[in-house]
Amino acid sequence: MPQFTDIQTILPLTVLSAWACVLLLLDVFVIRRKGLTALLAALGLAITLGLTLSQAGRTAYGFNGMVALDGFSVFVNALQVLSGLLGIALAYGYVRRMGLERGEYYSLLLFSVIGMMLMAQSTDLIMVFIALELLSIPLYVLAAFQRTDPRSEEAGLKYFLLGAFSTGFLVYGIALIYGATGSTHLSTVLNVASSGTSNLLLTIGAALALVGFGFKVAAVPFHMWTPDVYQGAPTAVTGFMSSGAKIAGFAALLRVFSTAFPSLAPNLTDVLWALAALTMILGNILAIAQSDIKRMLAYSSVAHTGYILMAFVPYGNPEVAPVSLAAGLIYLAAYTITNFGAWSVVIALEQPDGRGLQIADYDGLFWRKPALALAMTVFLISLIGFPPTIGLVGKFYLFRAAIQGGFVGLAIIGVVTSLISAYYYLRVVVNMFMYEGEPQTSHDSWLDLTWSAMAAATVVFSFFPNWLFVLAGSAMLLR
């Protein structure tokens, strides 16, 4: 029987699950104004955020070690609930404008957030698998939410097929890990893995699991779904997915590999190095050729996966691992804030007939909507990593962690690719300020609040980097 202490370790999750189920039922009675469903969903997430923050500082295992509560899970969960809230803020006016206002949108979003939260807390490979599916399946539906629009359906099908394909790799990897160690529990896997001699079955299992996670976080060469899905999915979904799914994927990657496979580090470090370098280089280079803002941001999201992977390369080195973990978390937080801001500006310019998504549609935005154009400039500068933005803070800690871990070459690739990225990000800025055009924008108060708050956060947090570093530094993994 589960004890109350077990429930306590996943209390925010439990409450949110119940809330999402009730919301699905309540939505039947909300006939006209689906905005009410959105507000109820946001209320549920706000309660969850409160419960998550109240867990700060506590560490515990629950359900016979299937889930863990620690600083890491609190930090990541708070970030995920926040991205859920921002996802609702983006969707609130957007779904009405695009004519896809249906109540199940918000329930699906909540279910996806539940999966993401479980992902950060799982300490057993079975739980990792269930969390991954709970996060993915609602996202497949959300990507195809604009049904009868062939582009959205195509995005949904592509995401579904490649997501399920990657799940196959993960499950087979878990099966081999289980066969090699006799357990799916991360700390037992660690004990067996570090005691024995090098085990081929375990290494193959870990590599297959890495492929599975690589698909989820969109690392090159497993990124090919990203541009199509990000472009075809409704923009509000893309904004949510690009932050939420990435945070969750990295949370699971960090926990599984740091907890269970430090002994495999000698075998995996070179692979991770190559993955990170390839992802940074290809993501940034492919982004240059894009004329569609959604595709450009999709490739930029791939490139940022590469930067975060950089924090993950020295995971087997016990001296550097805590610093690089904190650097990865800071970068995830910085990326979430900036990314939501950028997508909210994209939503503000998107028209119901599908216009407003080319980079050329941003011509002259500054002369029409100066505040919106300035906010977009802040986000793009933050994505490059120039001061005075949070993106610079994130990149600084990442490069420092990489250099401390002895991966100077990787840090150099990171700096060079950041400079390359300046070309395509600044091109949008040039379009907004230097060219003439008649950009169409739309308004709703939640969207305006989102981009202005994110722009303020992007700049303000960059002046208090230490505070963020202390916060992320306390986010330790329970071992």
């Binding site: 079975i126 698998f129 269930i130 599916e133 399946i137 497949y140 539906v141 195809a144 049904r147 009868t148 062939p150 582009r151 359906e153 195509e154 995005a155 949904g156 099908l157 592509k158 579904f160 097929l161 399920a164 394909f165 799940t167 196959g168 790799f169 499950v171 087979y172 878990i174 099966a175 081999l176 289980y178 066969g179 006799g182 357990s183 799916t184 541009p227 199509d228 472009q231 075809g232 050729a289 894009q290 004329s291 569609d292 595709r295």
Partner: protein, 100 residues
């Protein structure tokens, strides 16, 4: 008693057939069947390991995989039906609205 190696080898072969099927076939239904083959090859390996280790963990995991696969089928088939309604074809080579 069949040795454990045979099971693992068979599951490896099935997994490879499934992965190649996803990469080579162009009908989403067949691709989806191939994905199921990948999941079931993992199930086979799990059950084999579980019985060799005299544990139940692996078999419990298989139940979870089966349940999740069923949920995936529900979403996947719904997507395919919806696409057939709009496009009157489900060949993935025809899905080329998104490129650049």
């Amino acid at each position: 008693m069949i040795p454990l190696n045979y099971y693992v080898l068979l599951s490896g072969i099935l997994f490879t057939i499934g992965a190649l099927g996803v990469l080579l076939r162009r009908n989403p239904l067949v691709m989806f069947m191939s994905i199921e083959l990948m999941l079931n090859s993992a199930n086979l390996a799990m059950v084999a390991f579980s019985s060799a280790l005299q544990q139940l963990n692996g078999q419990i995991f298989v139940f979870f995989v089966i349940a999740v696969a069923a949920a995936e089928v529900a979403v996947g088939l719904a997507l395919i039906v919806q696409i057939f309604k709009t496009k009157h074809t489900i060949n993935v080579d025809e899905m080329s609205n998104l490129r650049g």
